[in-house]
Symmetry: C2
Subunit: 385 residues, 2 copies
């Protein structure tokens, strides 16, 4: 049977292919975006699990928007502005898909930083959107390029990850945040602020959401995959009140609502008195792992270790000037370490293969222990040095 | 912000509105499609819940297709044919949405029985599909109408609920099943067999899936909402192997995968030695409730109680010749009972309002006890008699 037209534009996920290879016995994977499964806060949810069998009300059909007690909690702690409403999604990935389906017609323009999260590229390709990449600098997007693009009238949405960007780890400065918000207002472009890594800060100072400077033109996606667990598939979308109705229509047609037992467990976790301490501990663990990665890179690669420092998140972006990152990824896999080549993070049509190859690879530091990270870098260095 | 074009064609769910009103204190609701929450098999999952906190592997990111041990079980017990593969979805609603997104371009034709499940209408409207209703007889679809439609070449998919149809409760005869399968083969139309109520048979004999007669041209949606619990949001899609890749692409972009802890719990339930006995007990309870509804209708309405008997499922379809079902629904709500008027189950453009009004209402019998069902009918009768 012939597939839908827009589906044919979606590239198979190169990362997923690497991840499959990365499960081979003996391979250390820095390829995935996996949180530390040895530190999941399951003990803080133990009571919630134990009482599940006695709460049949949690197992009936529920409201499309989400489990009311969780929504009340999120309203208090995660809502961006008073004019916003929240919608619980099956992961922030679903939130992004709902936005694309609710607001995009084929050929509508979407701006996004390049490189960027491949899952967002898939969503926008499926919506038939026209992707407009914007160069990313170490402090945020190239503002003059962004303004030119906005002024051209070609763009309806701007998708951005301002905190600990995937794949580069870049965080926008306060000044850039304000200027992007001003541009969104001036040119009436809706901002999609994807903030899955926001709580994973282990250095520097927390900065306001970009959306807080233009709440009436912004939607914010929060993920609970990084601070609770990814397997539960929970995220939340905060949007201006009058944008919620179309999102709810799509959510209802998509899957009626998100699992209620999972939502109830998440509430147990978020409201647990020990949760703030858990988050601090988790950030400490990620700091330690990041530092282990950076030290090993410096020890084994010396001057070849070109990594812009990050203040949080799960990824470091290793520049490899003059190298073919695809070849590096393949050789590294043969040596027992999986990484993702930079190409995977660019729109297919925009992958600047010829003129300026994406000479970088993404390294995940959240999943492995410091000792294993060091061994992974040793193997990687045997390819690079 | 302007919404996507196809979204503007979706009618707000009338049922959802009634359901909202139906939660008013003192109102008995026969409006929803709710399974009996007083009989959820939670005790069979108690052990699974208790061991959750000790199984971090269940909480990491998982495979898009589903949790491997569950897939293995489903392959053995739910796969339609050897050439099929399974995909776990967040409810069969999501399975339907994935099919529409993977295979439909705007204006592609979809045949479906009328009346039909409104959630399917929403999915196909969102895909921009062109809906072709087929008349439903007490033994299945009108075959000559169906063949004419297939022969016209206008239809790519045929969506059907052959077991205990929602809203009418109709089940197709064996002969009709074979003939529909033959038509799908002859005209190369793909069948979507939606079977959420299939396990809820309390009379008559189980018949083969229509898909079993044309597996290479059929996809089957199974729901676990009716036999485990709806709040968990789990269903499974069985499709010919070469149709799976596009479905997986859409699933990945939609939400990466379905909640793994929920999938693990479902496996615990399905594989529990006491599960078959639970299912028999559940069907017995639904039989009892159905009989209570039918007796009450006969006692209170006498000759006005025109209900085609059903052999399972959750719904009875009450004919009300010459009545306006919308007015009946409103008056009934004022008397303290919520029901869904027949109009809600027809495509907006096809609602035969003028010439032959849909003089019927849907009554759910799975959620309330026999005594409450009787009281609901007493209230309804005060409007009708």
């Amino acid at each position: 049977m012939q597939t839908a037209k827009h589906l044919q534009q979606i590239q198979p996920s190169y990362i997923r292919e690497i991840l499959a290879a990365a499960t081979t016995e003996g391979v250390i994977s820095l390829a995935g975006g996996l949180p530390a499964s040895d530190h999941f806060p399951l003990s803080l949810m133990a009571e919630g699990f134990a009482k599940m069998p006695d709460t049949p009300a949690l197992f009936q059909y529920g409201e499309t928007r989400g489990y009311k007690p969780l929504l009340d909690y999120l309203d208090e702690h995660y809502r961006v502005a008073s004019g916003h409403q929240m919608l619980v999604c099956s992961g922030s990935q679903q939130g992004l898909d709902l936005i694309a389906r609710a607001f995009l017609n084929p050929a509508d323009g979407v701006a996004m930083e390049a490189p960027c999260y491949p899952g967002a590229l898939q969503v926008f390709a499926l919506a038939g959107a026209s992707i407009h990449p914007v160069e990313q600098n170490p402090t945020g997007p190239n503002l003059s390029q962004l303004e030119l693009l906005f002024a051209s009238g070609k763009v309806k949405l701007f998708y951005a990850v301002p905190d600990f960007h995937n794949p580069t780890g870049v965080s926008w400065t306060l000044d850039i945040r304000k200027q992007v918000a001003a541009l969104c207002r001036q040119y009436e472009v809706a901002l999609i602020e994807d903030a899955p890594y926001r709580e994973l800060r282990f250095a520097g100072q927390q900065l306001p959401l970009v959306a807080s400077f233009c709440p009436e033109r912004a939607m914010v996606l929060r993920s609970f995959s990084k601070i609770s667990t990814p397997g539960m598939r929970l995220g939340v979308l905060s949007a201006p009140e009058d944008w919620l109705a179309p999102l709810l229509k799509v959510k209802q047609a998509s899957d009626l609502h998100t699992s209620i037992p999972m939502q109830a467990l998440l509430l147990d976790l978020l409201a647990h008195p020990a949760f703030p301490a858990y988050l601090r501990q988790l950030c400490g663990i990620y700091r330690e792992r990041y530092q282990a990665l950076v030290s090993a890179l410096s020890d084994y690669l010396g001057q070849e270790a070109i990594v812009e420092p990050v203040e949080g998140g799960m990824f470091a972006w290793l520049q490899l000037p003059g190298r073919d990152p695809l070849a590096v990824a393949k050789e590294a896999l043969a040596k027992g370490v999986a990484i993702v080549p930079g190409n995977a993070f660019f729109p297919a049509s925009e992958s600047p293969q010829a003129e300026s190859p994406v000479s970088a690879i993404r390294l995940n530091f959240s999943h492995e222990t410091p000792g294993t990270l060091r061994e992974a870098v040793r193997r990687l260095a045997s390819v690079l040095v």
